[in-house]
Subunit: 220 residues, 2 copies
């Protein structure tokens, strides 16, 4: 019945979540996992770290219950333990983008265009895509697309675009998205498309941002 001790215990529990998201590599792993289930190996490659280190970080995330592991044959696959975890990642990143001047500067330097979306822009994009006025392409790997994508998007992985250019309309706006504002795949896709004369632009949203905004995803 010691009030102070009780409180300390409660905040300590929440701090377990905070500690889990206090490492850049773990945040990167969370963002990758927000695209769907992945093996330790795939995560390590994607985050450019050693498998052993990836395993250690995943252990921390698992201890904080932000991810769950499941053995799948010879591999062990990790996934986020819930949609709220991906929303937490979006929330953290948004607060950082909002308040950390350093991050704003860094992002301005890398991503030239201001492509942040608000509720109205999302709505209008959705209806334009439904009418066929724009073509929305998901440039992530196929598996991630299949795990969940924007409702009207078609899959066009970055490394297939060059071979599949004829599938795209030359007279319509093409909107590319990938894993979110930190992901560079959509920017590369846009550069490639513009080189070939397409009217292409990118948006900052990935599926996590879309979902965090309360909008639905589609699974194939």
């Amino acid at each position: 019945m010691d009030k102070r001790k009780t409180k300390d215990l409660l905040y300590e529990e929440v701090a377990r979540i905070g500690k889990a998201v206090s490492s850049p590599k773990r945040l990167e792993l969370l963002e990758i996992l927000a695209q769907g289930e992945k093996t330790v190996d795939a995560l390590a490659v994607e985050a450019s770290i050693d498998i052993k280190l990836a395993s250690a970080h995943l252990k921390v995330l698992k201890a904080a219950r932000l991810v769950v592991a499941e053995r799948d044959g010879r591999f062990i696959a990790y996934r986020l333990s819930g949609e709220d975890v991906s929303a937490l990642w979006v929330n953290l990143r948004t607060v950082a983008e909002e308040h950390l001047v350093e991050l704003k500067v860094a992002m301005d330097g890398i991503f030239s265009a201001p492509e942040k979306l608000d509720a109205e822009t999302r709505r209008s994009l959705m209806s334009k895509a439904r009418r066929g006025d724009v073509v929305v392409i998901d440039v992530r790997p196929t598996a991630e697309y299949e795990n969940g994508h924007l409702p009207f998007a078609r899959s066009m992985p970055l490394d297939e675009i060059r071979q599949r250019l004829k599938e795209l309309p030359a007279d319509k706006d093409i909107v590319a998205y990938c894993r979110g504002p930190f992901c560079m795949m959509s920017a590369e896709a846009v550069a490639l498309l513009q080189e070939h004369g397409f009217r292409a632009q990118k948006i900052a949203d990935g599926t996590a941002e879309w979902q965090a905004a309360g909008l639905p995803l589609t699974t194939s």
Copy 2:
């Protein structure tokens, strides 16, 4: 133009926010600050830590731009740097409540009733309060009430309740709230009111939770 280095930099910036929220004491300070501006001294007392330690933690929060300091006469007052910071605290705590069994168990032990609110319950509470079917009391200190409170709530600080019992209706439901699910003031208020024969209950919401649910607050 090194893609890896750029990414590392971005995640590192977000991790600054993560590091700031990785300490139990800093989380507690954030929750207190979500109730409004406070001096270092007041924060230290409220969080039961030494002023020097409070100052050190506040420095970390300030470096992460989660709080801003302003000198006010002899005192230095800190406040959250935005509503999104208080929403981040709510989000972190919610993820913890959702996934950490230990926290669930701890809270079940302390707070007997299941008083978590969903959107529907919040709406119905608001309309009942507007009609006067229930009396909603804010049992936090007056300054916090004045900084922002639920739209229909009246101020009744915990340490004034005993003297002000006659202001409360004996034939209506009384709903008490305080700083949020970790705050014990509303539970104490309810116990006190029930002892005196009132029909009282508490809710888990504080102003931060209310606001994070997209509902408006009132300032006096």
